[in-house]
Symmetry: C2
Subunit: 436 residues, 2 copies
């Protein structure tokens, strides 16, 4: 096939467990991003179950509207893994055992000292004119199959058409993508159309207000500026198509800069960087340590802070003081404060922050107490209410009251609380935290 | 349309952010499960970007192969929200402003004391013969549209055909599904084909070994038994189709019982119930309290334990002792132990467990120390290694060594470590924890 052919990609997941909703199709998300980085436009994602006729119909539809089909799933050893055999049937192509794949599968089991099931050798079968993609971390090889002539013969499409098949296990698929598949694809790609996107993340401002502030930029044709809602933040995607990544970035960067200057500290990060990573950079840059005393978030803030590699530089000791007694004995929260204001109060959050800071001997102490629900709320202290205290040396603690939509579930409310707490820490480190 | 029509459903997500992989299509997963519970077969998921021509093409394809189209996304207030207008165009149907929807949108902003943007009123537009689905938690109403005559006129399909449209924000979609849409669908459904599925979850055994043990059951036609891999567990789905849910369960339950008896304590739960919920039930049933001292997991075990509402019954105080000093001063881990065996050792895990148990005055103390990576590993103590200690009164602590695949990322390794720790607690509570 000629090099420099523009690809239009479709990503297909084969698997009843995905179709029935038991597994979320995160593979499609990964592959879309990976293909975009190579400048390949993805126009469709499709999910189909383990049914040969529907698999065939989905592939026919795909090859009529796309010329790079990336399929995940259905390569396993069991009888409901149908992708390869069904594709061979669709194109009336004989299957052969691939000796190199057989050898890899045998070695996979030998290396792990595990007995090989005979069904595993089924995974070494491939259509005679397809090339296997070796799988270093699992048993199922993938496929790289130039089906251009098959597709042309059936009148579905003209020009080049490729199928790339991967196992459905995300880890195996990702390893094969980076180690094997990208090298196969790159020589086939044109130089002339890279789609680059950057995203910015915002906290403390809603999607519609953000849209109002960026209306003029969103009306532009290039780069495109589009808002969407994340887990506990709003995001803006800025995307541009250009001959090279550098040229696309030349289009994107001034717009990103303009957005950041309009939104100030509402913008907390870029490119999917989570709040905890932003906070980690600030703690490192300012050489500050932090300790957290959590009640309603139950350890989530601590866990998020330590999701960042190297967090032992600024995390020493955190506590989850769930009971009033633990708040008193471990953090020195006074029983009078607990009795007068209740465990969920600004006063207790402040004393928790001061207490953990002193105990852990850190620069900053953070305390949080609230009601994650679904039970435990009252009229005056509803589910979704939390107080965040932030303590440093020689100053009165700062307290923030937070009210999260009570319609969220407990898990989401905990996440929002943790996001507010980390954002409070971020604003403090930026010298932008107003007492209120 | 006649009642009792069997539906074949397709779930479509409209949105460039989903197509580009910035948002994972979790809506499709939710809707698949929700439709299965109503006995509706879902045959396809499709994702398409914010492009009118491709949206039209995807809907045409869908309505040629399915008769219940559930679409999420593209109902927002901004200019790239195209679903409703594009569908109206596809069917050459005029749009009208819906007064009830307008009023709801106005009230939504008044209730929140927020100014309404004029673009929000765009969301009150609907095709003249479509019915709005009210959205209690957001501004975009959905649609319930009988397009049978439109579809028949174009020769795409005969018989009934419906479109249900929801906003892309998962929370809004889910609320509308349960509060409004299900009631619209139910009267249209036949009584005769409910697909019921149950899942079982396993820890400490791999998918292939599980497959070997259940080969005979997996060969049966009904109920179907299929394994798949979860986040840190293997799952078995048992599914049966029957005239009623009760009859389906009659098919499923003996098979579930047989699987549980073959796998014993490898099976930790059913129906997506997370490990922490299983542990919570056991702690309640045995009236035990637990405290956790975490190093490598950084608070994740504590956070998971407190994800369960009512966890204040058995969680009082947990600690994240990240530094050696915190392990010594807070938990009483001896400096000799730290010096002789290193912070990542069975001895330290045991002393952490004893220390937190004493400090928190709980029945059980759990300690964990390990290397979550990506840095910090050595030949003798690689990334993925952890020790779990479990302490109770008047007994030597039990220590478990855990080795997680180092190819996982830090986040996944932390999750696996937390899963091992919670499973250790589960086995102890079941009197099935062997010292080794």
């Amino acid at each position: 096939m000629p090099p420099n052919t523009p690809f239009q990609a479709e990503i297909i997941a084969v698997g009843t467990e995905v179709l029935m909703g038991e597994i979320i199709n995160s593979n499609a998300s990964y592959l879309s991003q990976a293909l975009a980085e190579l400048g390949v436009n993805v126009y469709y994602h499709t999910v189909v179950g383990d049914n040969p006729n529907r698999i065939k119909a989905v592939f026919e539809t795909a090859m009529r509207r796309a010329n790079l089909i990336v399929v995940t799933g259905g390569l396993g050893p069991t009888d409901d893994d149908l992708t390869v055999a069904t594709l061979a049937e669709l194109f009336e192509t004989p299957m052969v055992a691939d000796p190199a794949s057989e050898e890899r599968i045998r070695q996979f089991f030998i290396a792990r000292g595990m007995p090989m099931s005979s069904t595993n050798l089924k995974q070494a079968m491939r259509p005679v004119d397809a090339e296997p993609l070796p799988n270093r971390t699992g048993t199922a090889p993938g496929l790289f199959w130039d089906v251009s002539t098959h597709v042309a013969k059936r009148g579905w499409n003209t020009g080049p058409c490729y199928i790339l098949a991967f196992p459905g296990v995300p880890r195996e698929m990702k390893t094969m993508w980076t180690e094997v598949a990208m090298a196969k694809l790159k020589p086939l790609l044109p130089e002339s159309a890279v789609l680059v996107s950057r995203s910015l993340q915002f906290f403390g401002i809603g999607e519609s207000m953000l849209g109002e502030k960026l209306r003029d930029l969103m009306a532009q044709a290039s780069p495109t500026v589009s808002p969407y809602v994340g887990q506990a933040e709003v995001r803006i995607r800025i995307a541009a198509k250009a001959p090279s990544e550098a040229e696309a970035l030349t289009l994107i960067e001034p717009v990103a800069g303009e957005i950041q200057s309009r939104l100030g500290t509402y913008c907390f990060g870029s490119n999917e960087e989570p709040m905890e990573a932003v906070v980690a950079q600030l703690l490192r840059a300012k050489q500050k340590t932090v300790s957290v005393a959590e009640s309603c978030t139950g350890g989530l803030i601590s866990s998020r802070l330590t999701d960042i590699s190297g967090s032992s530089e600024y995390v020493l000791l955190n506590m989850v003081t769930y009971s009033n007694q633990a708040k008193e004995t471990q953090l020195g929260v006074s029983s009078e404060t607990l009795a007068s204001f209740g465990a969920v109060s600004g006063q207790v959050a402040a004393e928790m922050a001061m207490g953990i800071r002193e105990k852990a001997q850190t620069d900053i102490g953070l305390g949080i107490t609230g009601i994650a629900g679904p039970t435990g709320g009252t009229d005056s202290k509803p589910v979704g209410l939390a107080y965040i205290g932030l303590a440093v040396a020689d100053q009165c603690p700062i307290v923030k009251k937070v009210l999260v939509n009570a319609q969220y579930d407990r898990h989401q409310i905990k996440h929002w609380f943790s996001q507010y707490a980390l954002n409070t820490l971020r604003l403090y480190l930026l010298d932008s935290l107003d007492p209120d």
